[in-house]
């Protein structure tokens, strides 16, 4: 999305994601929504909440004001309270209390979706893959796409989000395929289930406290363990990091992950993205990387 209006409020280095969301809101493209819920997932996103309150006056914005540090009793207590506060705000806003039975049904449904997505993820990791990465990411039934070829080199894709799906066919044209991922909008989003026994609100809160954390959360080790386990599970031979330009949290993680992976003989490639990846330069870099991985220079 071309950002014009949001430039009046956010500098370019706030990142394309935050700026394009604000742009959509300022253009009225999100006016059909009753409200928006914003978290502390980066400094830019947190500021988005403030800007919403100041400039998108007709729409209610909620802040899920949780700590970013997932350690210590105090943070745990504050995290829980922030989630309860958010629930309370939603109840007030909708005029309806959250019914435990309805929440249990929702939890069960979401858990089932998570289990199914895990299954799809495993079908993408087998050789030859039985579903395409596009099908997996869209979580849609296969639309009779060409089955994946066994000779494609399996690669892991890491990062916060993969918006530009043209990257996936381009990867295949270069002789590789995404066999696993730990995207913020991918497996990190669905990997952990909510405990179905016990009090449902507490179970949801606990799930968000202990789930595989995003890059803005500390400590980083659970994220690393997930990344590693996905690579091992899918037998990926290399990792492509797709990181949004100006996403500081991911940009700090990348060299750490890269060095740890290299010490295990896993080659890595970094692609800076501003939501779009389609360019000849990216294609050339990916092609070179795939050739190196196939050549076994790092193994």
């Amino acid at each position: 999305m071309h950002v014009v209006l949001a430039d009046s409020y956010l500098p370019i280095f706030a990142g394309k994601l935050a700026r394009s969301i604000l742009e959509q809101a300022l253009q009225g493209k999100l006016a059909h929504l009753a409200g928006v819920a914003i978290s502390n997932s980066s400094d830019a996103v947190r500021m988005l909440y403030d800007l919403w309150g100041r400039h998108i006056l007709q729409q209610r914005a909620f802040l899920i004001d949780v700590p970013a540090i997932l350690e210590g009793e105090t943070n745990h207590r504050v995290f829980r309270q922030a989630m309860l506060d958010f629930k309370g705000e939603l109840e007030k806003f909708t005029g309806k209390p959250l019914e435990p039975a309805a929440l249990r049904r929702s939890i069960a449904l979401f858990n089932e979706n998570r289990r199914l997505l895990k299954e799809i993820a495993s079908l993408m990791s087998v050789s030859p893959p039985r579903v395409s990465p596009e099908t997996y990411l869209d979580a849609l039934p296969s639309r009779g796409e060409t089955p994946q070829r066994a000779e494609l080199t399996p690669l892991h894709v890491s990062g916060p989000i993969l918006v530009d799906r043209s990257f996936l066919p381009m990867l295949r044209e270069c002789g590789a395929t995404m066999s696993s991922e730990d995207l913020g909008t991918g497996s990190r989003y669905f990997w952990n289930e909510v405990e179905e026994a016990g009090e449902p609100v507490e179970a949801v809160i606990e799930r968000y406290w202990s789930k595989i954390p995003e890059s803005y959360k500390t400590p980083m080790e659970p994220r690393w363990r997930h990344l590693l386990s996905q690579i091992e599970r899918s037998k990926a031979r290399g990792v492509i990091f797709v990181i949004e330009k100006y996403s500081d949290e991911d940009q700090y993680d990348y060299p750490v992950w890269r060095d740890r992976l290299r010490s295990r003989g896993v080659p890595c490639l970094l692609l800076d993205s501003e939501l779009v990846l389609e360019s000849e330069q990216v294609r050339t870099r990916v092609q070179t990387f795939v050739d190196i991985v196939k050549g076994g220079a790092f193994s």
């Binding site: 009046s8 409020y9 956010l10 500098p11 280095f13 706030a14 502390n40 980066s42 400094d43 830019a44 947190r46 500021m47 403030d50 800007l51 309150g53 100041r54 004001d65 949780v66 700590p67 970013a68 540090i69 350690e71 210590g72 009793e73 105090t74 943070n75 207590r77 504050v78 309270q81 922030a82 890059s215 803005y216 500390t218 400590p219 980083m220 330009k245 100006y246 500081d248 949290e249 940009q251 700090y252 993680d253 990348y254 060299p255 750490v256 890269r258 970094l270 800076d272």
Partner: protein, 413 residues
């Protein structure tokens, strides 16, 4: 006059010459502390600094070290080393300078300023100024493999909510035994209270000094004040800070009483938002040749050293550390600016869009709009970086600034 050195051209206050000595003593003190086998922690801006002095843990500020490197034109080489190691040019330049040193030739490189940065026994940081600060510390921990503690906080609007206060204090109650256990130190409430008194005294002196700059003509400009602020960041609880700030305050008071300004024929008064360009503090003094002066800075007033009501020391301690500009929502920043700006009688305001400090730079357009609409102060935006000189474009910035000053001059006629 509280003169401690012969007055030279370029400093409005003779006492400002003490700043370099204070800074040198601080860094040499850190090295000595380490050499004597006493604990050293690497800390970041807005950590609960008084705790460290009270516990005998030397707080070492890599951020300040990065600013020092920038001021002596050595930041770029370290930034480039960090970039070679994979750290994006878009990341905070303080962190790139530091990571360039840590991952490059190392902190003991004798060619570094002050002979190097003492190695840490512990890392303590906080999300109060920004999230990337925590990420930077994670990289440092990866390198040194030492204990780390992070103090979390969500952004505030004043008055600070009790739940935010308790969140902060709860973590402090976890941090103290963590430091005791990991570093073999002992917390004594009496020593801590004494440290808070010294901290508050320093803050009072500093705020007095800033208030003296409401006078027309202003006794001291931003260039000098940016050089003087360091003890307010790192040495709260250290008596040397009181001594230095007393000299500054008394001398500035004398100037105001005598009607003596830093600029002989002060015509235009300016405000500044964001961290300065440490490699180019001359930017501030250059305007003085055109009879203009920077006499107000958000960075110097709201980021460090708030006052504390010591009748309730723990509440005051929490509030002081939460009540900082970088932890303010945009609404709070607007309210604070509108509350304080009028008394400085500003003609214009310069917003530094600092690529390295996103938290500081976001929301600036709202601030500019508010001060224009509510108190009629026009603004100029310049884009640059606090430590990486590659982000600064001299010619266009100079032209913009000159045009802005001409416009302000025209407004006054």
């Amino acid at each position: 006059m509280t003169a401690t050195a012969p007055k030279k051209k370029g400093r409005a206050l003779n006492s400002s010459y003490e700043a370099a000595t204070v800074l040198k003593d601080y860094w040499e003190g850190a090295t000595r502390h380490r050499a004597e086998g006493r604990p050293v922690a690497w800390v970041s801006g807005n950590v609960p600094i008084e705790l460290f002095w009270a516990l005998g843990i030397y707080p070492v500020y890599p951020e300040n070290y990065s600013a020092v490197c920038a001021s002596i034109q050595r930041a770029q080489e370290f930034c480039e080393t960090a970039e070679e190691k994979g750290y994006s040019i878009d990341l905070c330049s303080y962190s790139r300078v530091n990571l360039g040193i840590v991952l490059g030739k190392g902190v003991d490189d004798p060619e570094l300023p002050y002979g190097g940065i003492p190695r840490p026994d512990m890392l303590v940081t906080t999300r109060i100024p920004c999230l990337p600060q925590v990420k930077w510390w994670e990289v440092v921990r990866e390198h040194f493999d030492i204990p780390m503690f992070v103090v979390d906080a969500t952004m505030v609007e004043l008055p600070i909510r009790e739940s935010q206060r308790q969140h902060y204090l709860g973590q402090i109650r976890e941090l103290i035994p963590f430091m005791e256990q990991k570093l073999g130190v002992r917390f004594h409430e009496d020593t801590f209270t004494e440290t808070l008194k010294l901290s508050d005294q320093a803050a009072e002196l500093w705020l007095d000094l800033l208030d003296l700059r409401t006078a027309v003509p202003s006794p001291v400009g931003s260039r000098e004040m940016c050089g003087n602020v360091f003890p307010l960041v790192a040495m709260l609880g250290n008596p040397r800070t009181i001594e230095f700030f007393t000299h500054l305050r008394d001398e500035a008071k004398e100037c105001v009483q005598e009607g003596k300004g830093a600029v002989e024929n002060e015509q235009i008064r300016l405000g500044w938002d964001n961290i300065p360009m440490w490699y180019n503090l001359k930017f501030f003094s250059d305007v003085e040749e055109q009879n203009a002066i920077f006499t107000y800075e958000t960075y110097l007033r709201y980021v460090w050293g708030g006052r504390m009501d010591l009748n309730d020391p723990w509440t005051a301690f929490a509030d002081k550390h939460l009540d900082v500009w970088l932890n303010y929502s945009i609404n709070q920043r607007v309210n604070t600016l509108l509350r304080d700006l009028v008394k400085f009688k500003l003609d214009g305001f310069v917003f530094h869009q600092n690529r390295s400090c996103k938290r500081f730079s976001m929301g600036q357009r709202d601030l500019a709009q508010a001060i224009q609409e509510k108190i009629g102060v026009p603004s100029l935006f310049i884009e640059s970086d606090m430590a990486d000189p590659r982000a600064y474009a001299e010619a266009p910035t100079r032209v913009k600034m000159e045009t802005f000053l001409e416009m302000l001059e025209g407004n006054k006629r």
